[in-house]
């Protein structure tokens, strides 16, 4: 056979095989999903901080009536860039970052599928963010809302490049998140460790894979829409131009066909985190695994049938409005099912209230309030009454911060020890939670009232005679508390990197496979991959549960398994680190930015993209990482129809 096949004799070699290169150039070549996941998480969190600063500026401006601190033009750029940042550069990528890091570990794999594609995706995400903020600093930040409605965003009314910057930012981030979605789906379908049937897949992984499928169907809508917007602005097409038989409502349909599922793309990973943390800290398997999974899938399907409730004010036929009202109310059912399963899990378990669990309890309070106002907004009369008021701002911040950011902070506290090998401070964590929970409610609860009193969204100031000042001041003070909370978290997270208590392999006593390896995990994830005999393998596996041996240690050899039952099928040597994904991202960035200025940018810019992609695809050696070329005189690889070579051992 080729090379030593058993990792037992080659533990050191295995680590070297899976190591990313060091040095400055090596830094751009990383393909380890843990490195890429960390980068995704840190970068997305950085964008979250920038988006937070923009929010703080808005709260400062609105803290008193007739304020002249920020003018209307800059204010438009600030709220548009804030929304765009939080949706496209923070919420989606940060959840995908968690997926990139933890999905392979939780399914017992050595790598994520298509690691170079994920590397490319990271660079596109990063360059997209830089492009947005450089544009903002050059006074070219988007200023027509995070939804860029035409006709306002058309060339006639936005002659500057601001709307183009928005549209191309969309292209950057959608390319990135589509690539990650494909990688996560493939990892889950083909790289699960033996024994981990779909029926034993951790709920967090289910949430990631359901979200990834939503990404596949939702993101193309906004890519098509933003491309059509650029074409309208750049080469004179008339997709949204009513004067030439176009229709601005086509934009709204396409945008919200993406935009509503987007909410669930952000929220479903959040529920996956909630299920994971509740299971661990209730010390029992989740109550109702099957209903929880079915709820995730049902939410994903229904999420595509609600988009028109963002368009109730456009004068749609009444039958359509009734249908979408019903659908918008119905989606509360699967979410309610999950909430009852979580309550039942906690009720019948032995709850340990550690910091991750605090955030989940906070999630319950905030998210349920946001869900309730969501059901209210599904009713057309109320919806039209409070349309474009601060009531809506309050609602979606309760949903998004409650449904995603609170679970996310829970996830930070839960998985920080695994990623860094250190524990975050429990005491400081309680303070961070208290500051954010109090600050959040102080900021956003008054907005419900302000909205009911008629204060519109997206206004840079208001007159003293409106009587809105004290509630606005309260909201601004709440924002200050939130800022203090986030700052405390950042300081503690940086401090704990070197000064935190050293984390054990499984500090929370959890049951999923990421805790079966060291903290932080070695380059190969598992020296010998564990297999699964239950949904919480570390709780369910018998003492003599088999481990996988026989993968090469001199090449990035991974085990590929069958889609449904994860029976071993074949081995595959995965790609080595490479500079080409980075270079391809540079070339693609050039094309995207060029195309804002001239349509020929697409034509000329395609050349470097093609060259770098060929460089990426072209094999460097007969068998990357291997020893000699394989004989091709006769076939050795199995065909699709042939039975698996091994399996059924678990």
């Amino acid at each position: 056979m080729r090379g030593p096949l058993d990792a037992d004799g080659g533990a050191v070699q295995l680590e070297q095989t899976w190591a990313d290169p060091s040095g400055l150039i090596g830094w751009f070549e990383h393909v380890d999903h843990k490195s890429l996941g960390r980068r995704y998480l840190i970068t997305a969190f950085g964008f979250f901080l920038i988006g937070g600063v923009l929010a703080a500026l808005m709260r400062l401006q609105l803290s008193r009536p007739d304020n002249t601190f920020i003018g209307p033009d800059l204010y438009n750029q600030i709220f548009s860039t804030h929304g765009t940042t939080m949706m496209f550069l923070f919420a989606v990528p940060v959840m995908q970052g968690l997926g990139i890091y933890f999905v392979p570990l939780m399914v017992g794999a050595r790598s994520i599928a298509f690691p170079r594609l994920v590397a490319f995706s990271y660079w596109m995400f990063l360059f997209g963010g830089i492009f947005l903020f450089v544009s903002f600093l050059l006074n070219a930040g988007p200023d027509v809302g995070w939804f860029s409605y035409p006709p306002l965003s058309e060339a006639l009314y936005t002659p500057t490049k601001r709307a183009d910057v928005w549209a191309q930012l969309i292209t950057f981030t959608e390319v990135a998140s589509l690539a990650v979605a494909v990688a996560i789906i493939t990892t889950v379908l083909k790289l699960r460790t033996p024994g981990m049937t779909l029926n034993r897949l951790p709920i967090f992984v289910w949430a990631q894979v359901v979200t990834s499928f939503m990404v596949l169907f939702a993101m193309p809508a906004v890519m098509l829409a933003s491309t059509e917007l650029i074409l309208d602005r750049l080469v004179g097409t008339h997709f949204f131009d009513v004067e030439h038989a176009g229709d601005a409502l086509v934009w709204q349909h396409l945008f919200w066909f993406f935009g509503h599922p987007e909410v669930y793309i952000i929220f479903i990973p959040g529920t996956g985190i909630v299920s994971t943390i509740i299971t661990t800290f209730s010390r029992r398997h989740i109550f109702g695994y099957l209903p929880v999974i079915l709820s995730l899938v049902a939410t994903a399907f229904m999420g595509f049938g609600l988009w028109v409730h963002h368009m109730f004010a456009t004068g749609l036929p009444q039958l359509g409005e009734s249908f979408f009202t019903a659908a918008s109310i119905m989606i509360a059912i699967p979410t309610g099912t999950q909430i009852f399963c979580w309550i039942a899990t906690m009720w019948s378990g032995r709850i340990a209230v550690k910091t991750p669990m605090l955030w989940i309890l906070g999630f319950f309070a905030i998210f349920i309030l946001g869900g309730l106002t969501g059901v209210m907004l599904a009713a057309v009369p109320l919806n039209i009454q409070v349309h474009d008021t601060f009531f809506v701002v309050a609602h979606f911040h309760y949903v998004l911060i409650g449904g995603a950011v609170f679970p996310l902070f829970g996830a930070f506290y839960y998985w920080y020890p695994k990623i860094t090998g250190r524990m975050l401070s429990e005491r400081v964590g309680a303070w961070v939670f208290a500051l954010l929970f109090t600050g959040f409610n102080l900021t956003f609860f008054p907005m419900h009232v302000l909205g009911l009193h008629g204060m519109p969204r997206r206004v840079y100031t208001y007159a003293a005679s409106m009587g809105w000042d004290s509630l606005n001041l309260l909201a601004s003070l709440g924002a200050l508390l939130m800022a203090c909370g986030v700052l405390t978290f950042v300081v503690d997270a940086v401090r704990a990197l070197s000064a935190g208590a050293v984390a054990a392999d499984n500090p929370w006593g959890a049951g999923t496979l990421e805790w079966a390896t060291t903290s932080p995990p070695p380059n190969s994830n598992f020296p010998r991959s564990p297999t699964a005999a239950g949904r919480e393998p570390l709780w369910d596996n018998p003492p003599d549960q088999p481990v996988v041996v026989g993968l090469r240690s001199d090449a990035r050899d991974v085990l590929v398994t069958h889609v449904l039952d994860a029976e071993p099928d074949h081995r595959l040597v995965f790609p080595e680190p490479s500079i080409w994904p980075f270079l391809t991202a540079i070339a693609t960035t050039g094309l995207f930015i060029w195309s804002i200025f001239t349509p020929w940018g697409v034509v000329y810019g395609a050349g470097p993209v093609f060259v770098t992609m060929v460089g990426w695809f072209w094999p460097k050696s007969p068998d990357e990482g291997g020893s000699q070329p394989w004989p091709i005189a006769h076939r050795t690889l199995p065909r699709p129809s042939e039975a698996p070579a091994a399996g059924g051992a678990i």
Binding site: P220, F239, F617, P638
Partner: protein, 201 residues
């Protein structure tokens, strides 16, 4: 604690063909994404139809059937060499792979050239009105696919002549063929919409 049992996978084959592979599922993901784009573009086409008293609007002539239909036939005919290349790949038959991939490329040159004639005979420019815009983007989206499919097939073909050859390259040949199928099949509804919707509405 006793040494755990082991599951030795060293005897498993170092790769596979078809839906067993990792790449197959990645390709399927791309197919889903791009199909969604096509479906949404076609949906917006019919949205514009409902907004216009006549179709094509303002007495415009429908696109010339000739080149679109000829191209449909060329695309369908290319399925034959494509399938032969796929089977040759699965047999790990280098000679046949080279022959049929070159034949595929000739077909690709053919339908890319005829595509230019299609654009010239749409009987409307993209900046005329929304009808022109949606027709051009439908044809344009598909053109992006036949151009990129031509380019990546060309790179793979070149590799089969000059590059280091190993059995995994033959898996690539097979997967390239799967994507080719998608590009051809995706054309049929677009052809129907561009060329027949104006004649039947």
């Amino acid at each position: 604690m006793s040494e755990p049992r082991t599951l030795d996978v060293s005897s498993l084959p170092p790769g596979a063909f078809g839906s067993r592979t990792v790449t197959f599922w990645g390709t399927l993901g791309i197919v889903v994404i791009e199909s969604t784009v096509f479906v949404l573009a076609i949906s917006s086409y019919f949205y514009y139809v409902t907004r216009s008293p006549s179709w094509p609007p303002h007495g415009l002539a429908a696109p010339l059937l000739r080149w679109g239909t000829i191209n449909t036939l060329i695309l369908l005919a290319s399925l034959a060499p494509n399938e032969l290349a796929r089977r040759a790949g699965e047999r790990v038959d280098l000679r046949s792979v080279r022959i049929w991939m070159v034949v595929c490329l000739l077909f690709a040159v053919g339908f890319n050239v005829v595509r230019v004639l299609e654009f010239m005979h749409l009987n409307v420019w993209w900046d005329h009105d929304a009808y022109g815009s949606i027709v051009w983007i439908l044809l344009g989206l598909h053109t992006v696919h036949i151009v990129t499919d031509f380019l990546d097939s060309a790179v793979l073909t070149a590799l089969m002549f000059v590059g280091p050859i190993e059995e995994h390259r033959f898996v690539d040949v097979e997967e390239n063929a799967v994507y080719w199928y998608f590009v051809v099949v995706a054309w049929l509804p677009i052809y129907g919409v561009i060329y027949w919707a104006p004649r039947l509405t």
